[in-house]
Amino acid sequence: MEHKRFELAMSPHVGTQQSTRKIMFDVVIALLPALAAATWFFGPGALLIVALSVATAVLAEYLCLKFMKRPVSFAFDGSAIVTGILLAYNVPPGVPWWLPVLGSAFAIVVGKQAFGGLGHNIVNPALLGRAFLMASFPILMTAGWTAPEEWRNGQDNPWETNGIVQEELLEMPNADAISGATPLNVLKQSFDLDKSAALADEEGNHAEAAELGARASGIRHALSQKSTYLNLLVGRRGGCIGETSVLLLLAGALFLIIRGVLEIRLPLSYLGTVALFAWVFGGSGWFNGDPLFHVLAGGVILGGFFMVSDMVTTPVTPKGRIIFGVGAGLLTMVIRRWGGYPEGCSYSILLMNLITPLIDRFTRPKIFGEVKEND
């Protein structure tokens, strides 16, 4: 069969300068600076993880298309590369090499091709891959945090040195003990301590409650010492491979906005909701949270500019996009503040992806010239 000239594609068929290929490679270019930062802070291992993930994604896409007897040229339109990069950006830098391979293959085969390929997937494949890895390997996915720049000091096995730090943390809440964990992890632990303190207070153990409360605020103090805004902006902190370097991610996003690929409503409503919620509920009381910390510390910059704004799985109407951003922001912060996980970015986007068709249906714009029916 000859597919060179006439490929069947989804509507619309009106031609523009933009093509899937161009958009996807723009996104790849926008994502690359953050990879440089990840390699600088977490070592060549991070680069290897991204490379493996991308290679697996493209190979899985190719094999799926071959198996389903569809034109294999779709495998090289760049969308698999983006999925591979995003999946790798969403795993801790200390994971074993086979983990991103497995996640990437799952993302493409189950998340994308099983639904019919690009444009038919109902949720973001990379995030589905991450959710799959979180459900399958909860320990590996929440403990492989590499402390930034440690690899150059000869400690090339982050798995040994930075396993789970919670125990040490409870014993000595000083700045050094928290270098490996992500800032949000540490914050979560301080809130957990607050909760135990309140419980002890109710039971009448006032001395224990006071001690737990002091420990919680000690941890928060150490956190503010270690994770300064500068460190968070540059990416000198523990975290998933691609989420840490805020400045370079923003530079990539700016490039996409200039190229007309990124629609600004989604990220703005998402990040705005996160910041507002953090200010109101994020602290230990009301209206004393730190919005900037919540925006910079987790994965919402990566999520907001590169995953909330995914063209396939988010609403197409302007109003719908704002609803999507606000909803995802609320879910993210509810999970962070009261949920079981320290970070809720990926799950919030997945959940909102599922109701995207519904949002689109209820925000359908009025057709011009249509007369409203009287009932």
Binding site: V110, A114, F132, A135, S136, F137, P138, L140
Partner: protein, 202 residues
């Protein structure tokens, strides 16, 4: 002749799970291990045969207006029997199947066969149908449980198959709820492909 057809009908051609998509609730819930699948399959098969037998026997006596309550009473009798016997002789299995044993009462395969087959066929054919459907259900559960136990725990019928290196980091999702749905859809897709290859597109 037709007895043989009724017997084999449920095993592949009208497999209650893969072809009719019935009985999904216990099917997805208890297939975390092959042992559970076999236990559930045996319990359901017994109830299926016994209820098919009684429903068929009384099919001319039961007034059609109250037939559903009558089926439920018959089925519930046998389910209670299975529940008590299992509790007495297989307490471990009883505990791991839990609520899903009493829930056999509302298993739509059993009610469906009572209404759809035993209601209008002679006793012997109904028993054959019960056996076939029960075996089909059990086989389907063992197939899914094989995948789930192998991937999620590295074992098959509690035998270590994939080695301890795998068992340290198994694909946990396979024995969680999402894994059941994902694997089920792959198996059903596989059967769909088989069907399409054999009979052409319908």
């Amino acid at each position: 002749m037709s007895l043989m057809k009724d017997l084999t009908n449920g095993i592949y051609k009208e497999n209650p799970v893969f072809k009719l998509a019935l009985g999904m609730c216990p099917f997805l819930a208890v297939t975390t291990s092959v042992e559970n699948a076999l236990g559930m399959g045996a319990a359901a098969t017994f109830v299926l045969i016994a209820s098919n037998f009684l429903v068929s026997l009384f099919r001319n006596l039961i007034p059609s207006k109250v037939r559903i309550p009558c089926y439920i009473v018959i089925i519930a009798t046998f389910v209670t029997l299975v529940d008590m016997v299992m509790h007495a002789y297989l307490p471990a299995l009883h505990k791991s199947l839990g609520i899903f044993i009493p829930l056999i009462v509302v298993n739509c395969i059993i009610l469906g066969r009572a209404e759809g087959f035993a209601n209008r066929h002679p006793v012997l054919n109904s028993i054959a149908d019960g056996i076939g459907m029960g075996v089909g259900f059990t086989m389907a559960m063992v197939v899914l449980a094989t995948f789930r136990e192998l991937l999620g725990n590295g074992t098959w019928l509690n035998m270590n198959v994939l080695g301890s290196a795998f068992r340290n980091q198994p694909l946990l999702i396979a024995i969680l709820a999402p894994g059941a749905f994902i694997l089920l859809s792959f198996i059903m897709g596989f059967f769909k492909i088989l069907e399409t290859r054999k009979g052409g597109r319908q």
